[in-house]
Subunit: 884 residues, 2 copies
């Protein structure tokens, strides 16, 4: 290794490295070299490579030639700075910092102000004409060096300092005089002597070598090892060491320090944005004692520096092709850039910057599309709590449906509807919601539930409506009287104002200010670019014409899931639906169905119109019938009350008894695995018959009027090819008959949901009878894991906490288990039917990671709730780019 280059200089047009050399120089070193190459004024310095670290940790000594190369670099620094290392007149001071390939913030050690000793501190005092600054720097160096290099606890120095301040009766470090500081320096040296058994060495070269040793060794400290284990960073990488000239912003009125963004991180506007302090160090900005000034004022106070800064901004943006977040220091009128990195920004800013940079020719459209986290799009589509609001957060639940809402607490759907009529905003608070609550959910501004996960009824419906929802907020206890709820000691009564933030899960007491969503023109542009790139379709899950219209506005290319059961819960429908369920035989059932049929047809006409020219996938009735009946417990209590009543109402009792009998008959122990989906279609074919009649009649009537309709009929919960074959035959017959009656020929598809493991495992047989598959990943997740989504709240949070699962599998698709079934399902499905169209319509259809996984598996489309369509458009484009 003797011949090798071990040390890389940067600054003063003599830079050895560059930005690509992160393996060798670490992130910080490569970045400093890159800036130096660009002519950006960085405090000059040099980097000792990671190879040296690896060698040192293995052999416990340095490779040959290192000391020489370090000494040569120090000499170069002396030349460049016209200072001298360890000099008593004009000393060169250095910082020694770690810098690995991956950022490991705070994990390894740093020494500042290296180069000071009892002599050079005098030189610094004289040269800067600021003895306070010099001795303050010296005492800082002593404590830092002792801690990092000599392993003496930092507390010892802190205690001494505190004691001194106490004696003097002062509070702030700045109140200490030069003499106080000198005294402290002596005390610090005593501590070192006491702990090491010898006086503090005065040789800066020895200090430097010890500091380098310490930084390399810090690679293997416990914190660092733990951090790497946690973040999957290889232990073999090692760290580089960056040795850099110190610069000071606190050397008078021509010095200063600041931070700046090259564009506005809030709006994305192309303006310098930042703040600075004259005669200050970085830590003063952080301490917040003085109020920093806006960067624009620098134009007046130091016009040359400002001009230089703006030039550097442009240079860095042009080079890194992205908005930069920069730290700078001005030392006696000379500007130094200490760091540049990609700037964090708001969603709005990110979108605007991406679009502007394409216009400026800095990046291409594909890069712009990759710049945005799909989740950031979400922020743009929902009202948000104003960032500077003061929030009294009383509880936190699941962030089940994004957006913020403010309203008076109500505990029932009826109450929410009444309040809406009076023009009052409400938040509906429920233990859990059920299909009967839909009206109330529409009326309320937001929904808060005590139980249920990310795919509970409340969450799914709220997302569909684009309404904020916080679910599974188990800290809340609703009183049985339903006139208040408790969170710890806080009592929130009906009518009290609360606010909820469905983006973060927060529940807030009182009213907070909310910002309206800003679907900017920039987002429109970006999504159009995404559309040009992506090669799978984005559909929506929509059950009403209004949802369908919203989804079209968000760019949906059809409906991937229209749940017909939601149409059965309307006030005008539910009595008829119950009539159908209470029917004693097929004839009675057909009579009730005949009443429902025209209503269903109207539903479909509305939806088809909203989605004209686009496919509409209609799922035939799926849920078990008892979902449409009253709860057994309610009925039983009612019966007992009626029977306790002196004045016995026999007729009423008889009616309730009959209802109980029916509810008993259809109730199930595990409804999720019960008599539902196509099992209903097999046992009561007349139900699907009615629905298909309604679909095809609606289609015929619209096509007759010139509206192009593309119905896709979807059979739910198939577990075996024969089930699908039987139902398909039955409904095809109905469809053919209706078309013949209308003298029309509507093109329609018949497909199935794949939502049971067995369906995926036997997909080759099922696909012979299917034009399309749609993976119902909610149910597939339930059966694959054996997790009831309604009940999983009892253990799933603990599973995440214990890292048994990385993420709730109802939020992001479980690739290992459920994903394996999807892969099997697609592969076998296409074996059985090469033209099979495959999509996904569970909640995962709008979740970026799941979309990317699905894309890799070969999906033709994803379908999600209307408000997630833009996210899906972006994620699909990114998936395509990433796959190339």
């Amino acid at each position: 290794m003797a011949e090798d280059k071990l040390v890389y200089f940067f600054g003063n047009n003599e830079t050895d490295g560059n930005g690509q050399m992160t393996n060798l120089l670490g992130g910080k070193g490569a970045n400093l070299a890159e800036m130096a190459n660009l002519g950006v004024p960085v405090p000059p310095g040099f980097t000792i490579s990671t190879d040296v670290c690896i060698y040192y940790l293995k052999n416990n000594k340095y490779p040959d030639g290192l000391i020489e190369q370090v000494n040569n670099s120090i000499k170069k620094l002396e030349q460049v700075s016209s200072k001298k290392f360890g000099d008593s007149d004009n000393p060169l001071l250095l910082s020694v910092r770690s810098g690995a390939k991956a950022s490991m913030p705070g994990m390894m050690d740093t020494v500042l102000n290296l180069g000071l000793n009892d002599e050079s501190v005098k030189g610094l005092a004289k040269k800067t004409d600021n003895p306070r600054f010099a001795y303050d720097s010296y005492r800082r160096f002593l404590s830092m060096f002792a801690d990092v290099v000599l392993g003496i606890s930092y507390n010892k120095f802190e205690d001494t300092l505190e004691k001194k301040k106490c004696e003097l009766g002062v509070k702030l470090d700045t109140e200490l005089s030069v003499d106080d500081l000198k005294d402290i320096v002596e005390k610090f040296k005593s501590i070192i002597k006491k702990c090491t058994g010898k006086p503090f060495t005065q040789d800066p070269k020895e200090h430097l070598q010890m500091a380098i040793d310490a930084v390399f060794s810090s690679w293997n400290n416990q914190r660092a090892i733990k951090y790497r284990n946690l973040h999957g960073i290889p232990h073999s990488w090692g760290t580089a060491v960056n040795i850099q000239t110190m610069v000071y912003g606190n050397m008078g009125e021509t010095s200063g320090t600041g931070v700046a963004f090259t564009r506005d991180p809030g709006t994305g506007e192309k303006n310098c944005f930042g703040e600075y302090l004259i005669n200050a160090q970085g830590e003063d900005v952080v301490a917040g004692i003085r109020t920093p000034e806006s960067i624009e004022t620098l134009e007046k106070s130091m016009p040359d520096v400002y001009e230089q800064l703006v030039d550097i901004f442009n240079k860095l943006e042009e080079h890194f092709k992205d908005m930069q977040d920069i730290e700078f220091t001005i030392e006696e009128g000379k500007l130094y850039i200490l760091q540049t990195r990609t700037g964090k920004r708001s969603a709005a800013s990110a979108i605007r910057i991406a679009v502007d940079m394409v216009d400026e020719g800095l990046i291409d459209k594909r890069t712009a599309v990759m710049r945005l986290e799909p989740k950031q799009v979400d922020q743009m589509l929902h009202p948000m709590i104003k960032p500077d609001s003061i929030c009294k957060v009383i509880a936190t639940g699941l962030a089940a449906s994004p957006g913020a809402a403010v309203g008076k607490v109500v505990f029932s759907a009826d109450h929410a509807e009444d309040m809406e009529k009076k023009g009052e905003n409400t938040i509906m608070v429920r233990t859990e919601t059920s299909p009967e609550d839909i009206g109330g959910m529409h009326a309320a501004e937001g929904i808060l539930t005590v139980r249920g996960g990310m795919t509970s009824h409340a969450a799914v419906v709220a997302r569909g409506m684009g309404k904020p929802c916080v679910a599974g907020c188990s800290d809340i206890v609703i009183d049985a009287s339903s006139s208040f709820f408790m969170v710890d000691d806080i009592k929130v009564k009906e009518g009290d104002y609360i606010s909820i933030d469905g983006t973060t899960g927060r529940v807030i007491l009182g009213q907070v200010e909310v910002e309206a969503p800003g679907v900017s023109e920039y987002l429109e542009v970006l999504l159009k670019w995404a559309d040009e790139i992506r090669d799978i379709n984005i559909r929506t899950n929509a059950d009403t014409p209004s949802d369908a219209t919203t989804a079209r506005e968000f760019g949906a290319e059809g409906i991937g899931l229209c749940r017909t059961e939601h149409m059965f819960f309307g006030d005008d429908r539910i009595p008829v639906v119950r009539e159908m369920i209470m029917a004693e035989d097929e004839n009675e059932r057909r009579t009730a169905l005949a009443k429902l049929q025209p209503m269903q047809k109207d539903d479909f006409i509305g939806i088809f119109k909203a989605m004209k020219n686009y496919p509409v996938t209609i799922r035939l009735l799926d849920p078990p019938l008892h979902e449409f009946l009253p709860r057994l417990e309610e009925l039983e209590s009612k019966l007992v009350k009626l029977e306790c009543d002196k004045d016995k109402k026999r007729k009423e009792i008889k009616k309730v008894r009959k209802l109980i009998e029916r509810v008993e008959a259809v109730k199930e122990i595990n409804p999720m695995l019960g008599h539902r989906g196509c099992r209903l279609g097999i046992t009561f074919p007349e139900i699907y018959e009615m629905q298909v009649k309604a679909i095809i009649e609606a289609a015929c009537e619209l096509e007759c009027d010139g509206t192009k309709v593309i119905p896709e009929i979807m059979i739910p919960l198939v577990s075996d090819a024969k089930e699908l074959a039987i139902v398909k035959e039955e409904i095809s017959e109905v469809a053919e008959r209706v078309m013949k009656e209308h003298g029309m020929d509507v093109e329609y598809l018949i497909g199935t949901m794949i939502e049971l493991p067995r369906a995926a495992l036997t997909a080759d047989k099922i696909s012979k009878h299917a034009d399309f598959f749609s993976f119902g990943t909610n149910d597939l997740t339930q059966t694959t894991f054996g997790f009831s989504r309604d009940d999983a709240g009892k253990y799933l949070p603990l599973y995440i906490e214990k890292q048994i699962l990385d993420i709730d599998p109802f939020v992001s698709l479980d690739q290992e288990g459920v994903g394996e079934l999807i892969k099997i399902g697609i592969q076998k499905g296409r074996m059985g039917n090469i033209n099979l169209k495959v999509g996904i319509c569970g909640e995962h259809g709008g979740e970026p990671t799941s979309i990317k996984f699905g894309y890799a598996c070969g999906l033709d489309y994803v379908s999600c709730s209307p408000f997630r369509v833009p996210i899906a458009r972006l994620a699909a484009a990114q998936a395509k780019i990433e796959s190339e």
Copy 2:
């Protein structure tokens, strides 16, 4: 084809074919040839090969040479029989029958008595001195030929005959005189003339050819095509035609006909067994007008024939190596064998014959083991209704647990227990059973339920107890008062006697006679042979020392599933279990668990003792906690009643309220997919801790006393490797601690159930933490299909009826879906851990088809309820033989 052999002669030492030639000669033809080769006297004849059929159906003509070969064969028959085809003095009469490779009973056509015309009928009358017989044969020929060959409806002839009988005032055909028959013959010929437009042809050669045409063509009649589609028989096979000399058992006192078995089909004893009629045709035996005589009497009446028959029996048994069922006819003292086939027999007979034949050197042990249907073993282990009992069957349910039981109807478990104390036998009739009913199930003779399938609680527990059970008998309606049940109009009151047959599913009014099971010495011998052959282990599912002892007696080699929850339901346990569930925090829970711990230890000591030297797999607590609490509806009704009460018992109300609160908190929408299995172990580690402590303490104490114990601890419902890893770490710690305290070192294994699709799909990761896998096929079937076994009764019967599923997947393993997951699970499991032991412990572990499938997948053992252990032993041996 001109040179080819198309016709195969048999009989008279000139037989061309043999028993192997079923492809060419069909089953019947090959069998006749085989018998002829053996020197068994079959009526001579010849077979036209299936090749001819295929040629004929394709080309609509016969291959060259066929007519010639047929004519030559006829000539041979004339020589052999000294009769002449179509002769007016001594006519040769023939039968023409189809005969395909596979048996297709009744699907194709037959013509008998071919060779008769207006002249030869006179010859036959003269020769037999029996004009009645001759003309009766002729009129039968005419109608049969017309129907089969000429396509004239058989009804036309029947009507004519009926009309004639009506005119004569007679009822039976036998009452018709010769003249009556001659008249009928004329009438039949007129019908033929009217329908075909020409007189009935008088040329027997032409008749023969037309009959051959007709038989070949019948291969493609609708019935036959449908039958082949249904049974998977290729349409390309074609049928052979068998043309055989007619023989008659009704030609006087030296003629006769009969059927016989070579051994007793009831007991298996080596005796001729059968019956015959002198001067009769086969159809007379069937008609039952005369009582046939026992075959033994033939020894006196026709000693030569009898001796010849016994010789033939021996010859056939020696040849076919199995008990034969034979049809024979004696024509004027000459014996003809018409058919031989493997004889059907009772289970007892099958076992004895198999064992005897090994002793006689006829077959080897492997063949003997293959001779028995594993299900037949079941018959030997349970009491049966006497075969000749008169049963008033009032309903039929699922044959859920085999055996017959008789007792008085009771509707509650308590009642059953009270009655038992009085020495009364009962049948417990319930809508469905729950764990609280266990005591009553023990006390009752049998269980009858209205709801629930083959794996409902009642069915599973009853099979475990070896107690007869009819489940899911939905025709029964239990009155709410629970003092009677109705089946249609029949009212069965509490205390009335009923009988149930769990082997067939029958529910019988009153008491029937029951036979005790006869575990014969023959069965013992056969099962020992099976044990020598099989190479997988048979374990049992047992939760009590008594079950374990029973299973050992049946040959179980360990316990594959010991369900600890069943131990929690005892009267002394359940209050403590509820105390644990009602606990407000971990401390309270630990206090309750500490009370349970010594009881659990005693349970395990008993079981380990019963299973000493054999492994015992103990499953840690699996069911959701609410199974141990009272039903919510009951509590709510109770509360309402208490509140209606004037004299309010506040304390009582408070207590019920608290219980309701807790039940509400733990109740689940889908308990099957809920907070259970290892999810309990993760959330309440102290429960598993108590159980493992009890297991290891029991093991230490017994080993200390010199009893060898092999505990295998099984974690239920794992869906991810990390779950298992966490629980394993916790329980290993407990086990190590307990062993240290005892100064012992017990060998124990830790494994997991694979009962969720995700567990099978990620088995490679899970197996890294497991010593063994046990497939829980009940739950795996539920999640793979999305079928709740408790609710599937609403549609599963229809699924079987509509042939969507061939068989209830809870009875026989679904190989296509669930089986695919088992294959994946085993393959991946062994990838992760090459020494992984794999078993199966669901209900399928005792079902022969499932055992064979599991064997092919590579299982190391199966585990089933004690009474199914012998079946499993046999099925495992058969699986091994079949795999070779």
